[in-house]
Amino acid sequence: MQGLAGYVVRRLLFLPLVLLVVSFAAFYITRWGPGDPISVYSGQYRDPEAFARVRHRYGLDQPIIEQYGIWLKNITLHGDFGVSFQYRDRTIPEIIGPKIWVSARLGVYAFILTFLIGIPVGIFAAVKQGTWLDPFLISVFLFFQSIPVLVSVPVLVLLLTVKLQLLPPGGFDGLFSLSMVIPTLALGLPGIAGVARLARAMTLGALHEDFVRTARAKGLDEYTVITRHVARNAVAPVMTTVIGLSLVGLIEGALITETLLGIPGIGAFIYQSVTARDYNVILTVVLLLAFAFVLANLAVDLVLVAIDPRVRLVDDGRGGR
C-alpha cells in the first residue's frame, strides 16, 4: 500500500514537468512558423504597418521567451488561456469545450466498434489456433489497420454514399445521426487488429490455465468455458491497455477524419487553428492532450497491476513502467 501510494505520487509529480516542457516546445514551434494570427485573420486586407500595431497590442512582437513567461503567468495565476484570434468574443475553454465533446463522443463510438469486433475476433482466432481461420482473420484486420484514414475516409464516402447511397453525403447532422457512421468506421476499423491480436494472445494464455482445465474437467461445454472463463480473463487487460494507449492515435485520426468530413470536433479545429496560427488555442489543446496522455498511461499501469499481480511497480525515475 505504501509502495503504491508513493508510486502514484511520484508519477503525478512528473506531470507539471511534462506539461512545462510540452508547453514550451509547442509555444516555440508555433511561433517559429511563417505568418501570424493577425496576418491570417486579415485575409485579403494587407497592411503590414497595421499588422505590426496589432501584433504589438497583443505582445506578439516580444521575444518568444518573454511571451512564454507572460502566457505562463496568465495561465497559472489567472486561469487565463489567452485570446483566440479566430473567435475573439469567447474564452478558449468556451470555444473548445463543445468541440471536445463532439470528438469524445466520436471516440467512444469508435472504441465501441473496435472492441465489439476486436475482442470476439481475437478470442475466436485463439480458439481456432492452428487452423487457417486464425491467420486469415487477423490478416483481414491488419489490412484495415494499415490503411491510413486519409485513404479510408474518401473510400468509405465513395462506397457508402456515392455508390451504395446508404448515407448522406458528408457533413455533420448531430451526434445521433447517420453522418456519424463514416467517421466511426474510419476511426474504429484500424484499431480492431490491435485489440484482436491482444485478445488472441490473452486468450491463448488463459486457455492453458488451470482453471480452464478445471472447467473442462467439470464437464462444461466448450462454449461456456470460452465465454465464461477464458474471455473474462482475457478482456479486461485488453480494454485498459488499448484505451490508454490508443488515445493519441485516435486524436491523430480525428484530425484528418473530422477535417475531411466537416465534423465540428477538436481534431478539425486543431487543424483550422494551426492554419489560422491561433497560437493560444493550439497550446491549450496540446496541453490538454499531454495531460490526458500522462494520466491515461498511469491509469493503464495501475489497472495492469490490479489485474495481474506479477506486474510490479518499478519506479526507475523515468516515470515509465
Partner: protein
Amino acid sequence: MSNKLVLAAGAVAAALIIALAVVIVLVVGGGGDKNSQASASGSKAPTASSSSKASSGGLRVRSTDPLVLDPAIAQDADSAQYIVEIYSGLVRLGSDLKVQPDLAQGWDISADGKTYTFRLNPNAAFQDGRPVTAGDVKYSWERALNPDTGSVTAENFLGDIVGAKDVSRGNARTISGVKVIDDATLQVTIDAPKSYFLYKMTYPNAFVVDQKQITANPKKWTLKPNGSGPYKLDSWRLGDQLTLVANDNFYLGAPKLKTITFQLSGGSSLSTYKDGSIDVSGIGVDDLASVQDPSSSLNKEYRTASNASVDYIGFNTNVPPFDDPKVRQAFAMSVDRKKIGSVVLKGAVPVATGLLPPGIPGYTPDDKTYAFDPARAKQLLGQSRYAGNMPKITLAETGAGGTVGDYTQAIVQSWKENLGIDVQVQQAESGTFFQDIDQGRYQMFHLGWIMDYPDPEDILDVLFYSKSKQNSTQYNNPAIDAQLAAARVEQDANKRTQEYQAIEKAILQDAPWMPMYFSTQYALVKPYVQGYELPPMVIERYRNVTVNRP
C-alpha cells in the same frame, strides 16, 4: 497482500480517470459552463427548437459563426452579416448600394467637399433605450482607432478623417477632425474632398457602440451587445445556433420579422432545406445543375444574384518574367476563360469583363479584358525580353498542398498548350501565402477581391495605386497614379465614374491582372418567405422580411 494491492490499484486507477474527467470539464467548462453544457445537450436542440419556432413566424437560415461581434475589429463577411443587424452607423447602404440615412437623418457637405455636418435622427437610440448622441459616435470612432482595441482595418476606413491616423498610431486619444457641436450634431473634417468617404462610413468599423457597456464589461460585452441596430443578439452558442430578436424600439421602425435563427452546426444545407428545417439555403456548385433544371421541384425557389467580388490571377510586375508587360499580356490572352467557365465551373459564374464587378458604379457588361487569342499571345511572347530564356514560373494559391483544383489546373494547362510554358502550381496554406504576398515573393498568384464598399476606388485605387499598401502586384504606373489621384477627389459623380472607367481600361491593357470571374451567390428561398433579398454586399436586410409558414 495481492488482493489488497489489486483493490487499491483499481481504486487509484478509477480515481485517476475521474480526476481526468473532472479536470477536462473544469478546463473546458470553467469559463462558461452554461455555454458548454448548453452546447453539449444542444446537439439535438436545432430540430427541437425549429419545430417550436415554426409557428412563431421566425426565419431560419444556415450560416457560420461570427469571428468577432465587435464592429471596431470585424472585417470579414461572416461577422459583418450579424454586425449590420445588431449595430448601426451614421449611414447605411441600401439594397441598391446607394448611401442612405441611418443614425444620421441628414448631412451637409461644405463647398470644398471636406467638412461633413451630420444631423442625428432625434429618435436614434441604443437597444436599452438610451439616445445615441454625437458624442457616442465620436467615442466609437476613437475607440475603433485606439491601438488598444486591436483593429487592423479601422485606420483604413476612418483614416480619411483629419487626425484619425494620430489616434491609430498612438499619438493622440481624440480625433482632431471630429467635433461634437451638440448632442444631435457632429462635424467631421476629412483630409481631401473624397466623395467615397460616406461609403466608408457604412463599414462596421465606423458603427456606434455603447461606451457605458464597454466600460462596465470590457471583456464580455459583445455577448450581449447594446447596439443600435434593428436586432438584438438573443443567444449565441458557438458552433450550434445564434438567435437575433427584433428591437421593437428601432428608430426607423419596428422590424416586421421578429426572430432570426442562424444554424451554425454545418452539415448538408440542401438536405436540411428540403426537409423544411431551414427557410433559406445556399447551393454548392455540385448541386447547382439539379436546381437550375426547370423540371426540378426546387427550381421555382432558386435565386441568384451577383457578389461584388472578382477572382483573378495577379502577376507580380516587379519580378521576371512578369516585369515585361508583353509576357503578362501573352499570359492573359492565352487562357480561354469562357470555356473554362462553362466546362470547369459549369457556367456557375460569369466570366469577368473587367476589374469592376456588377453593381459597382462604372461596371459595364462589355468585355474590356484581353480576348482569347493564342496566336497573338505567342507573337507577344516572341517579342518579349524573355523570348528564349523564360525563367521557371510558379503560380501560388492558397490550399492545403493537396491536389490542385480543376479550375487552376485548366488555367495552367492553357498556358502549356498555347504558350508552351510549364507553370508549376505552389499551394501554400494561408499563413505562408499572405506573408509571401506581403513580401512580394510570388511571380503570380491566384486570389479574389471582395469589395468593401461600392466605389471603384475600393478596387482601382486600393489595389493599383503604386503607394497603396495593398498593391500586391507591385504595379507602378505614374500615369495611372496621376489619374487615380485626380479621380479620388473629383466632385462630379458622372465625370468621376468615367475617369475610373478610363483607368480600368488602361490598367487592363497593362495586364497586372488576368481577371477570371465575378463571383455569384445562389440561394433557395421557400415560397412563404417574402422580402428576402440577395444584396451583392453584406448589408442590413432582414427587417422587412415576412415569413408565412404554412
